[in-house]
């Protein structure tokens, strides 16, 4: 039995400003980091199959560095080590959010590059050949032929990455950025009511991830081209008629 779950304290925590701000901060940081990571990751993925050896070497090196070292170490390095290497990073312009954003997006880009590479590889090479035969340029082939098909493969693991990243933002506590989990910790130390304080944070995380899952489901539907669900909504036009 829940002998001492104080619903009042729980609601107070749930509706308090630090929680809301913390959740918003975690979400913002996740969104911008993942967004930039997707862009960097896309070019890294392309770089993996570049004709230039040094580009391939760079991508290999990048992925090696950012996947082999802990995210926490990368955060601390950017926040504490950079200012000692270049004093300019000690300035007040270098905000904790900016540092966390740089660390998380660089880190995430390494993972995204592998996910995007898997997506690009999933498209049959014959498609590119066919598109080239039609006289399409390389960027156009990417945009019109390869990416739309690769995206279906990319979306589910990217949802995973979003969730992982959302939870990773709590690491930014070490560089004085106070997101949702920190808000819960601080709230708990005020009146020592842990079930309520942590429970409220739990609700926020669940809410954010639920919304994401709904968005992901929509996106997946949008990029499906052979499923029954999609065909029902867009019936095959009358072309079939003439073919008979």
């Amino acid at each position: 039995m829940l002998a001492s779950f104080d619903a009042h304290i729980f609601w107070e925590a749930l509706s308090s400003k630090p929680y809301w701000n913390g959740a918003l901060l975690a979400l913002e940081l996740t969104l911008v980091s993942l967004g930039v990571a997707c862009v960097i990751g896309f070019f890294l993925a392309l770089g993996r199959s570049s004709r230039f050896r040094w580009v391939r070497a760079f991508v290999f090196f990048y992925n090696w560095i950012f996947r082999a070292t802990p995210t926490l170490l990368q955060l601390l390095f950017i926040w504490n080590a950079l200012p000692q290497l270049w004093p300019v990073f000690a300035g007040s312009w270098f905000k904790p959010f900016l540092a966390a954003f740089i660390a998380l997006s660089l880190n995430e880009a390494a993972y995204m590059s592998e996910i995007i590479r898997a997506g690009l590889l999933s498209v049959d090479p014959g498609q590119e050949l066919a598109a080239r035969a039609l006289g399409m340029t390389r960027p156009r082939i990417l945009r019109r032929v390869i990416v739309p098909q690769a995206i279906r493969i990319i979306i589910p693991p990217t949802g995973n990455e979003f969730i992982t990243l959302l939870k990773l933002t709590s690491l930014a506590f070490v560089i004085s950025l106070h997101e949702l989990l920190t808000a819960a910790q601080v709230h708990a130390t005020v009146d020592f009511r842990y079930p309520e304080a942590y429970g409220a944070a739990l609700v926020y995380y669940l809410a954010i991830v639920s919304v994401l899952m709904a968005v992901q489901a929509q996106l997946e539907k949008r990029f499906t081209w052979s499923s029954a669900g999609r065909r029902r909504r867009n019936p095959v036009p009358a072309v079939a008629h003439d073919a008979r």
Partner: protein, 268 residues
Amino acid sequence: MKRYAAPLILLAAIAALAVVGTAGASHQVKSPVKGSFRYCSDPTFPPMESTTTAGKPTGFDIDMANAIGKFWKVKANFVQTAFPGLLPALSAKKCNMVISGIFITPDRVKSFPAVSYMKTHRALVVQAGNPKKIKGPNDLSGKLVAVQAGTKYEEYLKALNDQFKSAGRPQFTLQSYPGDTDAVAQLLIGRADAVLTQDTSGAFQKQAHPGKLALAYLFPETDSFGIYYRPSDKKIGVALRTAIKQLKKNGTLKRIAAKHQIPVSDVK
């Protein structure tokens, strides 16, 4: 300094052993625990507690915990815990008591009783030469202040910032870090203008980083460091009070204070 830490600790341990040994002989001491007790501590607050480069806990609180253990004739076991998690760990029975340079405050005492063992002042630590000319809390307006998260310092600074706001003065940027040493590091990196901490910590850091830090201001009020225990553990409370009284009387605490460069007058 660190090079001499190991022999110093050994020396102090021998000294503490001798002192407590005689004290134990003359008093019939009953331990409130069997065999050993565990104390939660966040070793990021030298000279009260920190870790050596080899990762061993050291500091006033560590020596005091061992002295209490010797006094009760039991073993004192160190349980590393982050500062915001100290009292939660106590309530979750991860340890029997909290010995971690933690203040006795009215709202904490509402949940957990405490035994006081030291009275000290809060201090503003700045970079050597005080480049931002900080002479008191009023001068923090518009600056960047670093502090340990979840502490009374942080609470005070937030309130001070609210005062600045209502007075129409520029607020300071407040950065809260997991450890006290992390906050002081921001001064050494050159990011923070001031750090609010205890004079004990400030004096230690100043000595640990010669020519880099300065104490800009000492708050006139004193704070009590206390050992927190669970309200249900009345036996531990009584035994702690006796132990602290005895260790003060026989000079053990003063000796430990001197060893860690803490003013012996703080032990009261």
